[in-house]
């Protein structure tokens, strides 16, 4: 099933709101992408790299202790944290870098927030021998030192962005400005299912491997489709990737969890689906956090990957039409979920992913015993250890200190 209602439109959302200089490049990308998709050798090459290099398919893991503790539906985890580089982001960067090579582009630029997309882009560029520049908010450069090192180790140049709030949205502004001036030989790898058409479609298609694998794995593991699938939502690439292949399955509840930050009443959150209004940010019309004069507001989340005041246009459409349910989790709830998953399942989830886990208990209970809940475990939490450990570590369990 396709929710695209016209070229690059998802209901009222989507489109291509960019400077004229970029329009021809986006048209070129749209054509090149359609041609690649029509060419079976391209899909075969993407599939080969995902299998041989990324380690796909990622597994579907039963979360037995969480299932027991929560006392409701069977809980299963789609393990994107096991993909090479530690998150789902690599699915998209491999696809886009292969596309860029096909288009004859000579260099790659990208934006990054937490650094996971930057690392995944730098990785794909190292694999295929293309130079890579990553724009990253100066504040994020400071708080994500591990990923900054990983990008540099992989041969990429990290360019700190000092403008605005010095976070992801400003990194994306700067990447677009750079692209405008180097558009003829450069491909811009956007990491979220956001941005101008055709990016929301391209990123969704490359990330849909998550949901496609899940369909097959769910049938094999428990003989049916899941009753509900939950994913965290920042820009929304892991969410649209896992949820999209199930849009046409009315029996499957689709749930997105946004960053509640310090609480929805605090004004410091990243809940653009829940509290945003219609606007244009970074090239597409979607739901954005803005004031009454159309100025984009700064988002807040403990997880840098959800610290974004917009959301992909297709998710905005799915939320507005009611096909996707939207909930939120605060910083504190995400932190509690991080330790719960660590200690019950032996997995350190990313702080982004921890937001999806934070709503797991209530969803499992709503669904009830005998039903199946799949949580998209979008990434691993190693990158977040500095943030998390700064708040202290709870005592060990079952062992005297």
């Amino acid at each position: 099933m396709n929710t695209e209602t016209a070229a690059g439109r998802f209901g009222r959302f989507g489109g291509r709101y960019v400077p004229e200089t970029l329009v021809p490049a986006l048209m070129e990308l749209e054509e090149a992408y359609a041609a690649a998709r029509a060419d079976p050798t391209f899909d075969a090459e993407v599939a080969r790299v995902l299998r041989e290099f990324v380690g796909r398919p990622t597994t579907l893991t039963p979360a037995r202790r969480l299932t027991e503790a929560w006392g409701g539906a069977h809980v299963w985890l789609k393990r994107e944290d096991l993909a090479h580089t530690g998150a789902h982001k690599i699915n998209n960067t491999v696809g886009q870098v292969l596309l860029a090579l096909r288009m004859g582009k000579k260099r790659i630029i990208a934006e990054t927030g937490a650094g996971q997309h930057g690392v995944a882009t730098a990785t794909a560029c190292a694999l295929f021998g293309l130079p890579c520049e990553v724009y990253m908010g100066a504040l994020d450069v400071e708080r994500q030192a591990l990923n900054v090192f990983r990008m540099r180790a992989l041969g990429a140049v990290v360019r700190p962005v000092e403008s605005g709030s010095r976070t992801l949205k400003d990194a994306m502004n700067e990447a677009m400005r750079t692209w405008v001036s180097q558009v003829s030989d450069t491909h811009y790898v956007i990491g979220s299912a956001a941005g101008p058409h055709p990016y929301p479609t391209v990123v969704r298609d490359f990330q849909a491997i998550i949901g496609k694998e899940l369909r097959t794995q769910a049938q094999a593991a428990f003989g049916k489709l899941p009753d509900a699938i939950v994913a965290c939502v920042g820009g929304g690439s892991n969410a649209i990737g896992v949820l999209h292949p199930f849009i046409g399955d009315a029996s499957v509840r689709l749930i997105g969890v946004e960053a509640g930050g310090h609480g929805l009443d605090s004004g410091q959150h990243g809940a653009s689906l829940t509290l945003g209004s219609e606007g244009v940010l970074h090239g597409s019309r979607s739901l954005v956090l803005q004031d009454g004069d159309g100025q984009i507001q700064e988002a807040h989340s403990i997880s840098a990957g959800l610290d974004y005041p917009g959301v992909g246009p297709e998710l905005a459409h799915l939320a507005k039409t009611g096909r996707m349910e939207v909930r939120t989790a605060t910083d504190d709830e995400a932190l509690a979920a991080f330790y719960e998953v660590a200690r019950m399942e032996g997995i350190l989830p990313a702080l982004e992913t921890s937001h999806a886990f934070a709503r797991g208990r209530e969803l499992a209970r709503e669904l009830g015993v005998g039903r199946y809940l799949v949580i998209n475990c979008s990434g691993r939490g190693d990158k977040d250890v500095a943030t998390i450990s700064a708040r202290g570590v709870p005592p060990a369990v079952g062992v005297k200190a």
């Binding site: 489109g15 291509r16 400077p19 200089t21 605005g164 405008v180 001036s181 219609e278 090239g283 004069d293």
Partner: protein, 263 residues
């Protein structure tokens, strides 16, 4: 068509000059003092004034105008306040000079397209330039502006293919804004060698005047371009001068560039 813009170009032409379209940021350093900057631009010889309205995420702008946007937002600039406090006062002081609002589409959407068009016309705004609204997305907004008598001025880029550039020009309102370089706003020491050909192409297709903008900061550049365009836009250089040395510096820069536009 508002007609004011066409008259301003015609007046410049009758004097044997290319038109100077001068940009400054409303609200930089604050709303009241930016009125003095706009007035100075006209005193320095600007034929059309672009009134910049700040947006938090200006993806088409280089560092100079980004800085001005941040200052204007800190000073409390909003589209509503610019239309109420800046535009009427500039019109009162400079009644002959058409004013064009330059901002990003989200700022217009937040006010509402119809409400903006009506209010803008009432306050004496002749046109609008929205650098993140390409033709494919501008249909309904332009119809609304047309009905209100506000020209939506299109942009044409160095990367725009020939047929698309001609289509943009043929259908233009007010004037065609030819972006001289692939990049963001800001001063450039050198302009691309094929710019004059590009301007000739657009000018041949366009029923309205054609101006070159982005990167232009000197009388020499203006002189070279005036053989191929009906005028030039100067933005970042003016914003920088006004920020560093006040309205008189902006006036002097306009006068200097205007000398380059005399034919």
């Amino acid at each position: 068509m508002s007609g004011d813009i066409a008259k301003a170009f015609a007046r410049a032409k009758a004097r044997g000059e290319g038109a100077l379209v001068a940009y400054a940021m409303a609200g930089d350093p604050d709303l009241a003092r930016s009125v003095d900057v706009f007035t100075a631009l006209v005193e320095g010889g600007a034929d059309i004034v672009e009134v910049g309205v700040a947006f938090s995420d200006p993806i088409a702008d280089g560092p100079v105008i980004q800085g001005a946007s941040e200052r204007a937002l800190k000073a409390g600039s909003t589209l509503k306040r610019v239309l109420e406090e800046v535009v009427p006062e500039v019109r009162r002081r400079c009644p002959e000079t058409p004013l064009v609002i330059m901002t990003y589409v989200n700022v217009i959407m937040a006010m509402g397209e119809e409400r903006f068009a009506k209010l803008a016309r009432e306050r004496g705004v002749s046109g609008a330039i929205l650098p993140d609204l390409p033709p494919e997305e501008s249909g309904s907004l332009r119809a609304t502006f047309d009905a209100a008598g506000v020209d939506l001025i299109p942009l044409c880029a160095p990367t725009t293919p020939r047929a698309r550039a001609e289509a943009i020009a043929k259908d233009a309102r007010g004037f065609v804004y030819c972006v001289s370089v692939a990049g963001v706003t800001g001063m450039r020491a050198e302009l691309p060698p094929d710019l004059s050909q590009r301007l000739d192409l657009v000018r041949n297709a366009s029923p309205v005047p054609v101006v070159a903008g982005f990167g232009i900061s000197s009388a020499d550049q203006a002189r070279t371009l005036s053989a191929h365009a009906d005028g030039v836009v100067v933005g970042s250089a003016i914003v920088r001068a006004a920020h560093a040395d006040g309205p008189q510096a902006a006036k002097a820069l306009c006068a200097e560039i205007k000398r380059g536009l005399k034919r």
